[in-house]
Every structure is written in C-alpha cells, then in structure tokens.
C-alpha cells in the first residue's frame, strides 16, 4: 500500500506498546507520543492501538502504491500530498501513485505520526506490532524503515478525509510523582528537582532523555541492586544529572529513582525536542489518576465526533 521513498532514519512502526512482557525482559516500546498515535487512528476509524509509523527525523517521503486513507498527527511538518498542502492532525485519502512528503517540523512537537486505514499490517509479536529495536523484533523486521520498504494497510478502503482534530496543548511543566529514593536527596536537591529548567541533551532518544541542569546529590551515597523500571521513571546516576526512561526503556536498571513522570504527561515529554527545556511539577497519585481520566475523556469525545463526521461523508 505504501513504499518508503526517502527517510532520514529512525522512523519505526509503533503501536501503543507491548505490555505484559516485562517479566521476560522485554521492554514496552511503542509510540513516544501515544496520544498522537491514538488520535491518528481515531481519525481513520481504527482501533486506538493500531500500529502506525513514528517519524522523528525529516524529511520523510513515501508513495502510495494503492488507494488508502491516512492520518497525520504530532509534529506539523508542512506535509504535502503531490504538492497539495495538508493540515496537521487530519485525515485524508490518497490515490495510487500519490507521494506524501513531510518536511522539517515547525516549532512545537518534534515527532510526527502517520496512521493508515485499518492500521499498518505487520505481524503481532508478544501481543504488539511495535518495533523493539534492542531485541530486533516487531514492526517491520525489528528495524527502522528504509527507502524501498513496502508496508500494507489492514483496511485501506475505509478512510474518509477532509477533517481533523484540534491538537491537544503540549504545555509545560510535566507532572511527576516522587519515587522511592526521592527522600534520600538532600533538601536542596529536592527543591532543585522542581525549580530547575532541565535541558534535554543531545544524548536523548527513544530509550531515554539525559537531562542537564543543576547537580542533584543524595545526603549519603546510594547503591542499589538492579530492579524493575518502566517508561517515565526518572533515575539519578552518580553524575547528578537525571535520566528519564522513555518508550524503549530497558525493563530493569540500578540507578536510584527520584520520580516518575505520570502516564498522562509522558506523551508531552515524548514530543519535547532535543535542546528544549522542561520543568517538573510535583503531583499526587489522585491528581495523576484524574489526569489520566481527563485524557481518556478527551480521546472518547474526539472519537465520538469523528464517528459522526465519518458517517456523514
């Protein structure tokens, strides 16, 4: 259905992630911005967790080898379909031979998501179609997409175009729950966690974000055995500069944990560009749960309006 014409690298097939396999040492993987991927799927009438393509380095060009509905969300890359300007966060239909190009993202979110009608049809591995780069499985042959790769849509003819969604606000700061070793930080360091504008360094990718800012110190040296970690966990290595674990996080690590980015805000961190700055805001369990529910409600309402619109056209 599509053929990759040109990619600058690191574009992968992702769904909402491979849950339930941490016990086998298999990380979650999945989209860095799961809200954008879910919304792209909703725009096409797909299940929210259908597989799409995450694009994080531009330009990116593909050709439709057959008619197919598609939706773009996430970063606004000034996309064009055979030269016609497309709007971000929108659904369209393409005919055979049309070329879709994504240029450099305008300021704002940094990753773009492309969904295809019915979802990108790659085999499910351990209950997910996400590319697991470390294990080299899932997605398309367990690797990033290359020019010449061909991918199929599961239900190409079901797309309707001509509408989109108001993109949710990225905003700042990112809400964080203090984690197990937070209390072992010096009082000064505890304050610095919340007051620092942390820079996302160039050593940041789908595995994790290495942050730079004030140096955080523990009252006494902390040594730990390896233990389970999940995306969102903020670790503090001996350098005193935090690391946030992201989608491709390993299932275990040994650094002390000072916080966890709440699930409802992880997508916003997943869109933060390298070189940008982020702030952490302390939150509570009940606020974190409420934020997750608010996000669910937004997706449910978007899905309802899209179903009505798709029924009209």
């Amino acid at each position: 259905m599509i053929e990759i014409v040109a990619t600058a690298g690191l574009a992968t097939v992702q769904d909402l992630g491979r849950s339930g396999s941490l016990r086998y040492g298999v990380g979650r993987a999945g989209a860095m911005d799961r809200v954008s991927l879910a919304a792209a799927n909703l725009l096409l009438g797909n299940e929210e967790d259908a597989a799409g393509i995450e694009i994080q380095i531009f330009p990116f060009t593909l050709c439709f080898t057959g008619p197919c509905g598609f939706a773009l969300t996430g970063a606004d890359c000034g996309a064009k379909l055979d030269g016609t300007n497309l709007l971000p966060w929108s659904a369209y239909t393409a005919t055979t031979g049309q070329e879709l190009t994504l240029g450099l993202p305008s300021p704002g979110p940094s990753r773009a998501y492309l969904a295809l009608s019915g979802g990108v049809d790659v085999p499910e591995v351990l209950g997910s179609r996400s590319t697991q780069l470390r294990g080299a499985f899932g997605g398309l042959e367990g690797r990033a997409l290359q020019a010449g790769d061909r991918l199929s849509a599961a239900a190409p003819g079901t797309g309707r175009g001509g509408f989109g969604l108001v993109p949710p606000k990225l905003g700042d700061p990112v809400r964080v729950l203090p984690a197990a070793e937070y209390d072992l930080l010096t009082e000064t360091a505890q304050d610095l966690v919340w007051s620092t504008a942390w820079k996302i360094t160039a050593q940041s990718d789908r595995y994790g974000y290495r942050l730079a800012g004030e140096t955080l110190t523990f009252a006494e040296p902390v040594e730990m055995l390896s233990h389970g970690i999940v995306p969102g966990v903020i670790q503090l290595p001996p350098s005193g500069q935090p690391i946030v674990q992201m989608s491709d996080a390993q299932p275990s690590g040994g650094y002390p944990k000072i916080g966890t980015v709440i699930d409802a805000d992880l997508w916003r961190l997943g869109q933060a560009p390298i070189g940008g700055r982020i702030r952490f805001a302390r939150t509570t369990w009940s606020e974190a749960v409420a934020a997750g529910e608010a996000l669910r409600r937004w997706l449910a309402e978007a899905g309802r309006l899209i179903r009505l619109q798709r029924g009209r056209t």
Binding site: N85, W89, S90, G162, F163, L165, V166, A302, I306, Q309
Partner: protein, 130 residues
C-alpha cells in the same frame, strides 16, 4: 407524502434558521433546498468568481490552531484542494478546501463566526486553464 408536500414542510422548517443549504435523502430520492445567500458587497468584476460554501455547520476559523496566521488571505494563490480554513465543532476541525485552483478574492465570513451548512465563506477567481 408527495414531494411537493415535503418541500413545503422542509421550507417551513428552514424559515427562521440561517441554514443556507439543505439536502434531504430518503428512499433514493434527494431534495436540495438552497436559500439565495445575501450577496456580499463586492465589485461586479468579481461576479465570475467561484463561491466556496461551508461544507458543514461550525465555527469559522481562518487559521489552523497549530499554525500562526490565516490559511488563505485575499490575493493568495491556491491549488485545487489546498486548505482555506477550518470549521470547528468541539474538538473536530472540518476542512474548507479550494474546489479549484485560483486566487482568493474575498473572505466572506468573520473569524470566529458560527456558520451554517452552505454559508458562503470565500470567493475564488478560478485560474485560467494552462
């Protein structure tokens, strides 16, 4: 119910609304009722331009919320299917696209105005055939 009767009933429903275009489909029959829009004050030379009507009811947004500035300004050249504006219904944005390639002559709706199905939004001067 005869078609004449249907038209009479639909017309009565439309009275007092600002709906400019109504399409009624039932059992393979379609009735289209179009209200003559109030002609905006434009010079006569614009009369050959093509009017772009609202594809849906909604709030007229000249700019996309993710982008700065209006999508289409008077004097701007557009390709066929290029986006001109969006109509907002809650979280949903319905595209208003150029039906033909040409030049935007006038924006006929106020940014933020609630528009009905068929409300004239743009006047386009069709590009001469190449």
């Amino acid at each position: 119910m005869s078609s004449v009767e249907q038209v009479r009933i639909l017309s009565r429903w439309l009275e007092g609304t600002d709906i400019a275009l109504l399409e009624w489909t039932r059992g393979g029959e379609t009735i289209t009722l179009r209200r003559d829009p109030v002609r905006p004050a434009v010079p006569p030379c614009h009369a050959q331009g093509e009017t772009v009507g609202a594809p849906s009811a909604g709030v007229f947004r000249a700019a996309h919320p993710a982008r700065a500035g209006a999508l289409a300004r008077p004097g701007q050249r557009v390709r066929e299917a290029d986006p001109l504006a969006v109509l907002q219904v809650g979280a949903l944005l319905i595209h208003v696209s150029a039906p033909v390639a040409g030049t935007v002559q006038a924006v006929l709706a106020e940014d933020g105005a609630v528009v009905g199905y068929g409300t004239p939004l743009f006047r386009l001067m069709k590009a001469a055939a190449p």
